[in-house]
């Protein structure tokens, strides 16, 4: 009866098949994705082997069970036998599962050993979990950036149709070259997160104060998407991962591009910005980095996230230093990270200025990028 149920359930799913055709990873839509690395394929075949062994066990066990239920019905006049133990049989059905488990353990052990060998990697990337975004630092390339949810809020709230990559798209993807061994180092700024990209078969916890590592060699160019896999607070669902695997040439030119952009940013940090310029840029930075907690209208979510609208720190001249310090260095033991080392001085100056002028805070106070630069370079 149950099998029938499963079959009809499966049938229903097959009928809706086209809608299920997965575009987000190499999964068929209802199985583990084989992925695009040697390790991910090995894990996939391990999964399939164990799956079929389990199916076989289920067929035998349930087969005997349902056959017994059918044949030995009281309503058909079955008379009970009187046996209630048999040492031989009991030894056999202890030994057989044990043997099956050993058969499963051998390839699993081999795969696990490979996964643990991160030696001779060519590229090191430090992945840091934040509530609720990822930060990537290319340790030898001197490039680092945040990777934020790219799906607009209007799609989440249903005011607009949801895109194909709903909740699985970011503003700045992690770009990696194919065919090169990449070593990931994982840590966290606040709570435990887990960095998971199914197609790379990497899932590793990011733990504040500790580092973990993993590695990959991506075989095929493409975009591979994942999500945070460890509950990390309210926006746990909204911190996706997007890995763009490209050829080495493309990767190198991407690196150059990143460096040029960073240089241009640094240069524009030298000049004096107008209040309007700062406010305009600050509004964008605020939406990306601050609005999830402090809310678009600055009302916050007390007691976890204080209101910024009408907050004396944002509205008084005396609060200015405290305000700048909080944004640059964070607040200890809270979800407020320090952005001093992770955002550009232009973004920092802009968002602080915006917070001091938006929602009726109206201080008319402009914080210049050069001022932030001076503070950070002391």
């Amino acid at each position: 009866m149950l099998q029938l149920l499963y079959r009809s359930c499966g049938l229903l799913l097959l009928l809706t098949g086209p809608a299920l055709a997965s575009a987000i990873n190499t999964s068929s839509g209802w199985n583990m994705p084989p992925g695009v690395t040697d390790i991910s394929r090995e894990i996939y075949s391990l999964h399939m082997i164990i799956f079929w062994i389990c199916v076989a066990i289920a067929v035998v066990v349930f087969g005997v069970m349902f056959w017994s239920l059918f044949v030995y019905r009281k309503s058909k006049g079955a008379k009970p036998a009187h046996f209630h133990e048999n040492t031989t049989v009991e030894v056999i059905w202890t030994a057989i599962p044990l043997a099956i488990l050993v058969i499963m353990a051998i390839p699993a052990t081999a795969t696990l050993k490979k996964i643990y060998d991160a030696s001779d990697a060519e590229i090191d990337i430090l992945v840091t979990g934040y509530q609720w975004r990822w930060h990537y630092q290319y340790l030898d390339q001197d490039i680092s950036f945040f990777s934020n949810l790219g799906t607009p809020r209007s799609q989440i709230l249903g005011e607009e149709d949801k895109g194909d990559f709903y909740l699985l798209e970011v503003d700045n993807p992690l770009v990696l070259p194919v065919g090169k061994k990449v070593r990931f180092l994982f840590t966290s700024n606040d709570v435990i997160h887990a960095w998971w990209v199914p197609d790379l078969a990497i899932k590793k916890d990011t733990i504040p104060g500790f580092i973990n590592e993993s590695w990959t060699i991506i075989n095929e160019p493409g975009t591979y998407r994942g999500q945070c896999a460890e509950l990390c607070g309210q926006d746990h669902a909204y911190m996706p991962i997007e890995v763009r695997a490209v050829t080495e040439e493309v990767w190198l030119s991407w690196l150059d591009e990143q460096r040029e952009t960073a240089a241009a940013e640094a240069a524009s940090g030298e000049r004096e910005w107008t209040l309007a310029e700062l406010n305009e840029r600050g509004a964008g930075v605020y939406t990306t980095y601050c609005a999830a907690c402090h809310q678009a209208d600055g009302s916050g979510m007390p007691p976890a996230f204080p209101a910024l609208r009408g907050n004396p720190v944002m509205t008084s001249a005396e609060g200015r230093d405290k305000h700048i310090n909080a944004v640059l260095f964070g607040r200890p033991g809270t979800s407020m990270p320090g952005y001093g080392t992770t955002l550009s001085v232009n973004d920092l100056a802009a968002v602080i200025t915006y917070e001091r002028n938006a929602w009726g805070n109206d201080t008319g106070d402009a914080v210049q990028p050069s001022e932030i630069r001076a503070l950070l370079d002391r």
Partner: protein, 187 residues
């Protein structure tokens, strides 16, 4: 009350005493687990922990036939207006060799504050082979506003480091000290 009842009561009391004893032992075991875990981590390198106090130089000869890359990563936890930079990103050492790496601490804030660099080594199976003779991470540091301080890390990679490991990453996370945790609990 009959003898049997008395006997039964005594038996129940005895069982309860024994179970309570077991309970007390488990409570004690739980409390002991915390220091045991730390000892276990230091001995096995579980979770990438290194010893929390200075170790003596190991006497094993330098293995000049092998080179290990030691990479330094520094991070700031929220709440401390400091900068911490490794003055060398990576150092190549022979196992057994005593090496030095320097780190620069800068307090860019407006007042005296204290911080502590918490070390973590990856891969974790390499942690127990990372011996530190001198490290700023053994105690908290105090810096005046605007003060800059260079501090050394003197270390040695034990020649017993497993063959497969040829790169060790030492990450320091800089945490503010002297502030109660518990974010908005204090509000």
């Amino acid at each position: 009350m009959s003898r049997d009842q008395q006997l039964q009561q005594q038996n129940v009391a005895r069982t309860v005493r024994r179970v309570l004893l077991g309970l007390v032992l488990m409570v004690g075991f739980t409390i002991a687990l915390v220091p045991l875990y730390d000892v276990f981590c230091e001995v096995t390198g579980l979770n990438g922990k290194t010893a929390s106090s200075a170790q003596v130089v190991g006497g094993a000869p330098v293995d000049t036939g092998r080179r290990v890359e030691v990479q330094f990563v520094t991070r700031n936890a929220p709440g401390l207006p400091w900068r911490l930079d490794a003055m060398e990103q990576t150092v190549w050492v022979h196992p057994g060799e005593v090496a030095l790496a320097r780190f620069a601490f800068v307090n860019v804030g407006q007042e005296l504050s204290s911080g502590r660099a918490v070390p973590s080594v990856s891969p974790s199976q390499g942690a127990r082979y990372f011996r530190k003779m001198e490290c700023f991470c053994f105690q908290e540091q105090w810096l005046e506003a605007g003060e800059r301080s260079e501090m050394p890390l003197v270390f040695q990679i034990d020649p017993d480091l497993p063959e497969g490991v040829n790169k060790l990453t030492l990450a320091y996370t800089l945490y503010p000290q002297g502030q109660a945790i518990g974010g908005y609990h204090e509000q």
